[in-house]
């Protein structure tokens, strides 16, 4: 009996004195939802963490409404590397920084242009405290920190807003894990979404700054930005690199009159390679199902003939656009489509001797785009509206 009591006391006592375990209460944590990386004076890195303030969220146990006043705070510090800067932030905080719930890593365009961003991601891959599910994206302009400080009309935090914006637009494969994989892969170069801060006018008030998706940045092996694609090219590049799930497209009518709009779903792409003399030839096949959603041309879509014609025309248009985008990216150099990776897997002996200068080879590689887009619906009203 005495030993039983003793055992019970032994079990109870450490709980009362539990300060020495690694348990940490939620109110001792500062949840970092977004991190911005900027350049600072003297080659230093400036890290800004967006931290939620739980006590400012509305309701005792509620999710909070849109754009709560001061529901987050942005704390910045500079350092020689990510950890040093983060430690400086930690010293300013009363709570332990918790980066596992981070949604967003925003890096300014200026940083990518001038610093070796590869070093930045070493910390992400090495430190087990990162969940690597967070989105990585580029902020157009000089300051990524600015993005975190913006208010969003719908969402509580800009980080959440950015994540949802990408997700709802079918851009799902841009996690930092994906970026690290691409950085390490021999025959695949990263493609990152770019956000731009612009003014949005809402119900008569003064226009407020607002972050929205601008396009994609093409990065090279050293994670330097080689170029930023515009809207149309971005869609093409995203589709061809297999990172976009759906897409809307508007093309002018065949005879230049009116417009045709399609909703494209089930976006797929396939790479095929074959020997072409000394080098290799690559073929990128893009597949999708198209729904016609708007038709302001004079075509009567209830006729089979104009349906097949439209389908053929859509395929031609996509083929032309995409081929042009491929050419542009080839001029820049980085292989964002993963053709090198495909060759690596299908022809490892060929790849081994050529992996060193893949970026140069990619520039002159013969890449043809083939399209297989099926028009599966002409919408609920068959003929033209009169």
């Amino acid at each position: 009996m005495r030993s039983l009591l003793l055992a019970a006391c032994c079990l109870l006592a450490p709980i009362a004195l539990s300060a020495c375990t690694d348990a940490v209460e939620p109110n001792q944590l500062a949840f970092v939802m977004g991190t911005a990386v900027d350049r600072a004076e003297g080659g230093l890195i400036e890290i800004s963490d967006q931290i939620v303030i739980p006590s400012q969220l509305s309701g005792p146990f509620a999710g909070g409404g849109a754009g709560d006043a001061k529901s987050s705070v942005v704390v910045s510090a500079t350092g020689r590397d990510v950890f040093e800067a983060s430690e400086k932030i930690q010293r300013k905080m009363s709570r332990r920084l918790m980066t596992s719930h981070r949604i967003l890593i925003a890096i300014s365009e200026a940083f990518f242009k001038q610093d070796d961003a590869g070093k930045l991601f070493d910390k992400l891959g090495r430190d087990p405290a990162n969940n690597m599910r967070d989105l990585t994206l580029v902020v157009r302009g000089d300051s990524a920190k600015e993005l975190l400080m913006l208010k969003h009309p719908l969402e509580r935090l800009t980080s959440i807003a950015a994540e949802k914006e990408l997700h709802i637009n079918g851009l799902t494969r841009f996690s930092s894990r994906q970026l690290i994989l691409e950085h390490d892969a021999g025959g695949l170069r990263p493609l990152l979404p770019v956000l731009k801060v612009e003014k949005l006018k809402s119900d008569g008030k003064a226009p407020e700054p607002f972050a929205s998706l601008y396009g994609f940045a093409v990065l090279n092996k050293q994670l330097r930005i080689q170029g930023i694609l515009d809207e149309e090219e971005s869609a093409a590049a995203g589709w061809m690199s297999g990172k976009v799930a759906y897409h809307g497209m508007t093309i002018p009518g065949k005879n230049g009159q009116g417009l045709l709009s399609f909703r494209l779903v089930h976006l797929k792409r396939k790479i095929r390679t074959k020997d072409c003399g000394e080098s290799k030839c690559a073929e990128l096949e893009v597949k999708a199902q198209a729904y016609l959603v708007e038709n302001t041309t004079s075509l009567d879509m209830s006729e089979i003939r104009s349906m097949t014609e439209t389908e053929r025309y859509l395929n031609e248009e996509i083929q032309r656009n995409f081929q042009r985008t491929v050419k542009k990216i080839q001029r820049w150099g980085p292989d964002i489509f993963g053709i090198g990776e495909h060759l690596h897997r299908h022809d490892p002996y060929w790849w081994r001797s050529r992996q060193g200068d893949w970026d140069e080879r990619f520039k002159t590689l013969d890449v043809t785009v083939r399209t297989d887009v099926r028009l599966i619906s002409i919408g609920s009203s068959g003929g033209n509206m009169n």
Binding site: L11, L12, P14, I15, S18, T21, D22, A23, V24, E25, P26, N27, L29, F31, M33, V52, P54, S55, L57, G59, P60, F61, A62, G63, G64, M98, S100, H101, I103, A129, N131
Partner: protein, 388 residues
């Protein structure tokens, strides 16, 4: 002569004749007896509404009415120095295992008690491991459960003076199975059993998992949920473990109060409980809302276990797991579960492994574990060490 006195004390009439060395004894007792009622503790939606009563003769007839066969055997034992209680060992000859029968007989003969007030006295005396949390003998008030068990080759003990019959051997699963499982169509039983097993796990593990997740591994909780929890716990004065412990303690306290109160006072306890813990504690900021949710879910989960005595080990386990998890996080939780499994695997009920037929695995008998297969698809004779 001493035997004769004993018989007379039991209410029998003795007929003595001049010049005869032996006497005739006739049972002429008449007892005051409770009428047969529906067993409230083990009510089912469908099936017999009869329950055992205190009179062993009535109970025996309830079983005999259900199993009309010469193989149904009842052996009488008298136990208790002062109470001279009659205990009947009931089994089906040919179905019940001879070895188990022999060991039960031997144990019954070895009982040295001053008195047997309830079958629980006998249960504690004959069970294999009295220090285990889990009971190795099932008690029931339902003659249909006893009859079904007998037909499965199990052994029942009826005790005079109590409506609770003992059934042995049992496994962990028999505590989680309800008589209704056999009365409803088997497809729906799949769902109800699944719910019951999951709820059983919740009933002892959820508070520990909550503590481990929120205080040791907050990165494992979805971001929005974690921030909501953090918001709710912003001003909590106690650590999460202590808070959960307090709530569990209060919950069990209310439950205990409810059991002992007369029916008229029951609502008072529930009103005080709902107001005190449901509202006032949260509004005062002593207890946070997520913990109320966790504890009420845990409490409700325990009630999905059909037999009251089967819920008890899980109610105790809850505390043990909470303490060890509060100390070590998920490592502690894993320790707790591992030790629980070690104990369950080692535990035996009269030669039957407690986790049988899952461990040791028995493909034929597992048909009554997760899915209750239709009766015509079941097979396998139960014997020592092999029970479903």
């Amino acid at each position: 002569m001493a035997g004769l006195v004993k018989q007379i004390l039991q209410g029998n009439a003795a007929i003595l004749a001049d010049g005869e060395a032996s006497a005739l004894v006739a049972q002429v007792q008449a007892y005051e007896q409770r009428s047969i009622q529906e067993p409230l503790k083990e009510s089912t939606l469908r099936g017999s509404k009869e329950g055992f009563v205190e009179n062993i003769r009535a109970n025996q007839s309830l079983i005999r009415r259900r199993i009309v066969h010469a193989d149904l055997k009842m052996e009488a034992f008298t136990i208790g120095e002062y109470t001279q209680t009659e205990v009947a060992l009931v089994y089906m000859q040919g179905l019940a295992d001879g070895e188990v029968l022999a060991s039960v007989r031997e144990k019954l003969r070895g009982i040295e008690l001053k008195g047997v007030i309830d079958s629980a006295y006998i249960e504690e005396w004959i069970e294999n491991n009295s220090f285990s949390l889990f009971s190795q003998i099932q008690n029931t008030e339902r003659p249909d459960i006893v009859s079904a068990s007998l037909l499965q080759g199990k052994i029942a003990l009826l005790t005079d003076g109590t409506p609770f019959a003992l059934v042995l051997p049992v496994t962990l699963w028999s505590g989680l199975q309800s008589a209704d499982d056999y009365f409803e169509r088997f497809v729906f039983v799949l769902l109800t059993r699944f719910i019951r097993y999951v709820m059983t796990f919740i009933s002892f593990a959820l508070p520990a998992i909550y503590v481990a997740l929120t205080t040791f591994h907050p990165e494992m909780v979805p971001s929005n949920l974690m921030i909501s929890i953090a918001t709710a716990r912003e001003n909590s004065p106690f650590p999460t473990v202590i808070e959960v412990f307090l709530m569990m303690f209060v919950f069990d306290g209310l439950q205990e109060a409810g059991v002992h109160l007369p029916n008229q006072l029951g609502p008072v306890v529930s009103i005080i409980g709902a107001l005190v813990i449901g509202q006032a504690a949260v509004e005062a900021g002593i207890i946070s809302t997520p913990i109320i949710i966790v504890i009420s879910l845990t409490g409700v989960a325990a009630y999905t276990i059909p037999r009251y005595s089967a819920t008890l080990p899980f109610r105790l386990l809850r505390y043990i797991l909470l303490f060890i998890t509060g100390l070590l996080g998920f490592v502690g939780f894993a320790y707790g579960i591992i030790f629980l499994l070690i104990h369950l695997v080692m535990l035996e009920s009269f030669g039957t492994p407690y986790l049988s037929p899952l461990a040791p695995f028995d493909g034929r008998r597992i048909k009554d574990l997760f899915v209750r297969y239709p009766f015509w698809m079941r097979g396998g004779k139960n014997q020592k060490g092999r029970q479903s």
